[in-house]
Point group: C2
Chain length 335, copies 2
């Protein structure tokens, strides 16, 4: 139960912790919660440290944490040390941090702390993105598509606004809320004026990433004004935006640059050229497709996946959600 | 409860009653079922008549029937007359037969029978196909597609066998079992050698319909041997098959011919040219798409809906089913 509560804290803070994982922590003593903590932002105190601080006296208490407490000194001191100092006698965590060595558990145990690993599939699924990102030093990539049943993102006149319904679009805002950044190609950015925001969910906006191989992009007035983070990947400096300058536009390299810029969860929203290239180059982890209940036919410019020849990519289905007549299907890579 | 049991009889016999609806009937007296009937085949006794026959003495009994009893003399005498003769005092039915005038109810009531209409949404949904077919004098048309997520029925080398999984293919057999006929284009028939059977479900096979505008088709050995009904729509007589000769291959006309040949539930299974034409000409009622968890890209010959320009067809989602990593989405026409 306390782990589930700690996971609620994770859901609240997902998308604001950069390359660090969102972590939730609850300290309980005699059946009463005496401390609550969540990691809020890269570089600031970890969840465990915050919860201990709130508790004041945590002697003989039990600490529940979504992720295994760290044992290393990074931007902040190790959590294991803080736990030992606080006099906590029992630690329950849901997910092993495979990116750490396991000396933290032994270190706590050597100080008489009982350490229990209580696996939880929902919490594990959440951290999959973090581990991928940390191990591969690139963002965890979600491809987001709003498509007709026959695989078109827009009609022959580039109209796409009408495709999915309000309930689906609100769900997109929820998805964006948990991302560090959303990415689009320059043409999609300039023509579609995609809002790419999460306004129906919160004021917290993901950064916008625009790919401009031409070295040019016309930023929308609103984007320059609202103080949101705008990243442009381009061969030349772009005024009014944070520019990641490169000549190498291969998807794998773009992801490297974005990770260095602090992006660990990235959602790619179009256009079809960008989407196709990330699929072909195998540079994605997850595909979320909103199918509008429509058949479109027509010419082929706006089909969402175009390649020179058939290139089969095998996925596995991880979720089905219905939004009125729209269906959201979520897939991850691999058999 | 008895209506649900009667509906079970309908499910058993769907797909074998031609242009007539499958109907189930249960007669109950003093809490005991004394008669069970189902309409088995066009031209033979109706469900009510069969149930009355089984009951022998049905005096003062209650008759439960999925569809309103008929009051007209067609190939068999009216059911209302049989009900009155049997001394039944109460009739409960689930679905009004809008293709009949309503004198049947009044006729039974005038003979002191209590008649109750007890609507049931699942039973109503089943009869939608029958009413469409009867009113429009054409088969109720289901388009069946097994597609990649990006709308391809096969790769650039026409391979499609690998697309959906075993569980999905078994479900296709269940779908076929409830159809009078399945239709494919000549090329699909000759090249893909589609089995088009329902062998995982039963020995009862839907008729096969092949469209051959060229007036030629090479029937597979097995099809000529197993005594199954093979219909070819063609400008010239085809040996070893029942030929519907025509020069007019517009979808609406083909449906007219098939209805005259006794087909009231038709499933169209490909190829993409046939599928596209039936969508464009608005000659379908239902679309069932099995999405395999695959992205394919490639050239465009095997996309399932191709037209000269975008032609938006709006559907409404009526069902979602999961078969392991495949998803079956069912749509009907209209907002």
């Amino acid at each position: 139960m306390y782990l589930k509560q700690a996971f609620e804290l994770v859901k609240m803070t997902a998308g604001q912790t950069g390359r660090n994982p969102a972590v939730g922590c609850i300290i309980v003593k005699n059946g009463v919660i005496i401390g609550i903590g969540a990691h809020l932002k890269e570089g600031t105190a970890h969840a465990e440290v915050q919860a201990i601080k709130m508790a004041g006296d945590a002697t003989d208490a039990t600490l529940y944490c979504t992720l295994e407490p760290c044992n290393h000194t990074g931007k902040t001191p190790p959590c294991t040390e803080a736990i030992i100092q606080a006099g906590i006698t029992k630690v329950v965590f849901a997910v092993r941090d495979t990116s750490l060595d396991d000396t933290g558990i032994r270190y706590m145990e050597s100080h008489g702390i009982e350490v229990i690993h209580a696996p939880d599939s929902a919490i594990s699924a959440f951290y999959e993105a973090f581990f991928t990102s940390k191990e591969e030093k690139r963002p965890y990539v979600t491809l987001k598509l709003a498509s007709t049943l026959d695989g078109k993102l827009a009609d022959d006149f580039d109209n796409s606004k009408w495709l999915t319904n309000t309930a689906s679009r609100q769900d997109v805002h929820r998805l964006r809320h948990s991302q560090d950044a959303v990415l689009v190609g320059r043409k999609t950015y300039e023509i579609d004026k995609p809002k790419l925001d999460a306004r129906h969910v919160s004021d917290k906006e993901p950064a916008k990433v625009i790919i401009s191989q031409s070295g040019d992009v016309t930023l929308h007035e609103a984007d320059r004004m609202n103080g949101q983070r705008i990243l442009v990947i381009s061969p030349a400096e772009i005024p009014h935006a944070e520019t990641l300058i490169t000549q190498d536009f291969r998807p794998a390299h773009l992801l490297e640059l974005l990770y260095q810029a602090g992006i660990s969860r990235l959602m790619i929203e179009g256009g079809s050229g960008v989407i196709s290239e990330f699929i072909e180059q195998d540079c994605f982890d997850e595909v979320v497709i909103y199918y509008a209940p429509k058949l479109l036919g027509g010419t082929l410019n706006n089909r969402f996946y175009h390649t020179e020849e058939s290139r089969m990519t095998q996925l596995r289905l991880v979720d089905i959600q219905q939004f009125e007549d729209d269906v959201r299907l979520t897939y991850r890579k691999g058999q």
